[in-house]
């Protein structure tokens, strides 16, 4: 059985988009909700639980989207920067190891 994954939606504002373009990573954006750009970093169940514990403002939207939302802006920025640095969305293990 495939392990269930829970996305963290990093919504791409102009500032983030510029960084992606500069790094040649604009293609990583998915289009969501009538034209918004998003990068999706996926957590497994254990990572999801750790995120919710470490960042108490975060919320798992269990009812509608099954995504991890409301992470503080600076945490999202750090995750985003890690994606740009590693040129990959598979960075959560490394990101969470600092916590």
């Amino acid at each position: 059985m495939t392990e269930e994954k829970y996305p963290i939606n990093i919504w791409v504002n102009e500032e983030r988009y510029e960084k992606l373009k500069d790094a040649g990573l604009a293609h990583m954006c998915e289009e969501m909700l009538a034209g918004m750009k998003v990068i999706r970093v996926y957590a497994n169940a254990a990572q999801r639980d750790k995120i919710l514990k470490v960042f108490p403002t975060a919320k798992f939207d269990s009812a509608t989207t099954k995504s991890i939302e409301l992470l503080p802006r600076q945490v999202k920025d750090q995750i985003f920067d890690k994606v740009v640095e590693k040129k990959s969305v598979d960075i959560l293990e490394e990101f969470l190891s600092a916590y």
Binding site: N9, I10, W11, V12, N13, E15, E31, M32, L33, A34, G35, M36, T57, K59, D61, S62, A63, T64, T65, S67, E69, L70, L71, P72, R73, K76
Partner: protein, 420 residues
């Protein structure tokens, strides 16, 4: 003409004539109350909680816990309780039969005629009302935080609250609300319960419920309205600030997504219990008293976490529908379908693999990330107003922060009682 509210009981405002109030209050013991109790005093005195005339006594509480009814048999699902500790009772020298003056913000607010003082098993309350005794459930946590004695008795307001801007136009008590509905000529009014800034999913919930409520009525002139009834109570960090909620809900009307002919925004003071199905029944009573004929219920109404099934509220409402004077309108989720290029209902669209669902939480995340959502998802007027509220009321943030909690202007204040 008598205004008949929940349970077929007449709605009577329990508010003293300002000329009589000082004499009635003079000499009474003054007991300060916290915001939850002040909210409930307003709910009782203005008839939002009809047929309650005060805080519950033992028989009513026991009946609500065991049968979801008041002792007279009227359906009632949430205990309305006034708590004090033994120490406080002793310090104030309060006993059954006393009349005391409740104060808020240091000023007399209401007279409380205490009929009885009793205790009750809080865990039994939790198990019955919330379906769990888990202290992590916010309603249970609130119940366990009650002090050990409950005081039952009647409430009469002696000072009417001053509703502070920008909330003042939205406090419309039941008798006034019913008058306004008559002036508008609305024959059916459907309630939209909210604690949120509206995205287009919410907008379409309202539009869908409006269509459902319209039914067979003639369409030559507007006969059906949506009443947004925002719950204003205790805030948690990360929630939208109250000012943003109430003003953006009304913005949907002002910006033409609705109009005066079919939309109104109002508020009720209430600290959410997150009791899911039981809170849904409470909302039915509350909105009946406000004069509504229909009530929208979506998925997991007033729920929290995973304590309730998505349609438990619908099932409980169905079990008592013959005793409610309001018709539930059940709403399916609205979502964005890129294939349709529009917001659509999961009951209509069949491009299931393409659906993009969104929620209030997701929209909050988008706003927090500094992104302006497209107009199909979040109306630009609403977005701009959220940002304006952040600057004007939220100390730079549209979400509740420690600074907001410490410095915000209260939604209402109790002014000094003239002549005391």
């Amino acid at each position: 003409m008598a205004e008949i509210g929940h349970g077929g009981k007449e709605i009577v405002e329990r508010i003293l004539d300002p000329k009589e109030a000082p004499a009635k209050v003079r000499g009474l013991k003054q007991v300060p109350v916290r915001s939850q109790i002040a909210n409930e005093v307003i709910g009782i005195a203005y008839g939002f909680f009809c047929p309650l005339t005060g805080f519950m006594g033992l028989e009513d509480l026991d009946s609500v816990v065991k049968k979801m009814r008041l002792k007279d048999g009227t359906i009632w699902s949430i205990p309305i309780l006034f708590d004090m500790s033994d120490q406080e009772l002793s310090d104030y020298g309060i006993k059954a039969g006393d009349t005391i003056c409740l104060t808020y913000h240091g000023n007399p607010m209401a007279i409380f005629e205490i009929f009885e003082i009793y205790s009750y098993d809080k865990q039994a309350i939790c198990q019955s009302i919330f379906g769990t005794a888990d202290s992590k459930h916010p309603g249970c946590a609130r119940t366990y935080a009650y002090k050990d004695k409950f005081l039952g008795g009647n409430i009469t307001l002696v000072t009417t609250p001053k509703i502070n801007p920008p909330f003042d136009p939205y406090f419309i008590p039941p008798l006034e609300m019913r008058k306004r509905f008559r002036e508008k000529g609305w024959q059916r009014i459907v309630a939209h319960q909210t604690r949120n800034v509206p995205h287009t999913g919410h907008e379409w919930l309202m539009k869908g419920a409006w269509l459902q409520a319209y039914g067979e009525l003639p369409i030559e002139k507007p006969l059906v309205g949506v009443l947004v009834n925002a719950i204003i109570g205790e805030k948690r960090k990360g929630d939208y600030i109250d000012e943003a909620i109430i003003l953006t809900q009304d913005e949907l009307r002002k910006s033409g997504y609705f109009g005066d002919h079919n939309h109104m925004t109002s508020l009720t003071f209430w600290d959410m219990r997150y009791a899911g199905p039981k809170e849904a029944v409470f909302h039915a009573a509350l909105r009946t008293n406000l004069g509504l004929t229909h009530h929208m219920y979506g998925r997991d109404h007033a729920g929290v976490g995973t304590y309730y099934g998505p349609y438990d509220a619908h099932h409980l409402l169905a079990s008592v529908k013959d005793e409610l004077n309001i018709t539930p309108v059940y709403s399916m989720n609205w979502l964005y379908c890129p294939h349709c290029g529009e917001i659509t209902s999961e009951g209509l669209c069949n491009h299931k693999s393409e659906w993009q669902k969104f929620s209030g939480t997701v929209i909050r995340s988008i706003v927090q990330d500094g992104v302006k959502p497209p107009r199909l998802i979040f109306r630009p007027e609403v977005f701009d107003l959220v940002m304006e509220c952040a600057e004007k009321y939220g100390f730079g943030s549209p979400f509740v922060t420690d600074e907001y909690l410490a410095k915000r202007t209260p939604v209402f204040t109790i002014p000094p009682l003239a002549g005391l």
